[in-house]
């Protein structure tokens, strides 16, 4: 279970919290809690959605205690892409940090992690329609904030 999901959980927490150390600690806590609560896991829900629900609850608890806000999301050290792509990615991460929490979360779950709307909805205790709308709003906001290379090009 750890091998299958730890990267996705870590990346979700990193993009939501903005601190590598805290994201690691919370990733650790997610799996410890999952091991402890393994009996409570219901087969009808997806294992991934269940883990993300735990991660989300821990993140919200952490935010409540620390009153942490993701001021700047860290950029990865080993960026394989070209400088232009790198700059765009940095802009994306900064723009992401400015989004409202629920929109950022929906975008990270759908785009970064690759959860389906149903799984994201289950993790966030909401409906798929709400996730669809949040992802769309996040995309529109990011598109407006970022200087996309296709902006202004005619598409006929």
């Amino acid at each position: 279970m750890f091998e299958r999901h730890h990267l996705a959980i870590y990346r979700y927490l990193l993009r939501m919290i903005g601190s590598r150390e805290r994201a690691e600690e919370l990733t650790q806590d997610v799996f410890l809690r999952a091991i402890k609560a393994a009996n409570a896991y219901e087969e009808r829900s997806s294992e991934r959605a269940w883990l993300f629900r735990i991660a989300r609850n821990l993140r919200l608890d952490d935010a409540r205690h620390a009153r942490r806000t993701p001021s700047l999301l860290p950029v990865d050290h080993a960026e394989p892409s070209a400088p232009a792509q790198q700059a765009l990615r940095l802009s994306l991460l900064q723009a992401l940090a400015m989004l409202p929490d629920d929109e950022r979360e929906a975008f990270v779950l759908a785009e970064v992690v690759g959860l389906s709307y149903a799984e994201a909805a289950e993790s966030c205790a909401t409906t798929t329609a709400a996730i669809r709308s949040r992802v769309y709003r996040a995309r529109m906001q990011l598109r407006a904030t970022l200087d996309m290379p296709t902006a202004g090009k005619p598409l006929t």
Partner: protein
């Protein structure tokens, strides 16, 4: 217009969309541009290389083992309840026994010797020195 963007946003996420709505969205140039930008956003978002430091799996396994060990040491509830009941019964028995023990302790010890005391006669002290 919003509906077009939302339809294309759902489309690239592999979610079901109505064919009519998709047709209408693709007929719109702005919506088509947004589709390209959504895909670009996806590529940027998924170009994710962040990884936790090595050793996280080992740390999780170690902590899980420790917690399991502590959980094994924890006294089961029925056993704890039985200990409380026994302590209460024991306390009650001590309270019942104690007054008898205390009474025994308060009895005077048996006499080991008898001292005879003879009081002086009433006239003996009067006028003796005269």
């Amino acid at each position: 217009m919003t509906e077009h963007f939302e339809t294309l946003s759902a489309l690239i996420d592999g979610e079901p969309v109505a064919i009519d709505a998709l047709e209408a969205a693709l007929a719109n140039a702005d919506a088509r541009r947004s589709l390209v930008e959504f895909v670009r956003l996806r590529q940027l978002a998924r170009d994710e290389t962040a990884e936790p430091r090595p050793g996280l799996a080992e740390r999780v396994a170690l902590l899980a083992r420790r917690r399991r060990g502590l959980a094994r040491l924890r006294v089961p509830l029925p056993l704890a309840a039985a200990a409380v009941v026994l302590a209460l019964i024991g306390g009650t028995l001590i309270e019942v026994k104690w007054p008898a023990f205390e009474r025994e302790q308060l009895q005077p010890p048996p006499a080991s010797r008898v001292l005879q005391f003879d009081p002086p006669s009433p006239g003996a002290s009067e006028g003796g020195s005269r």
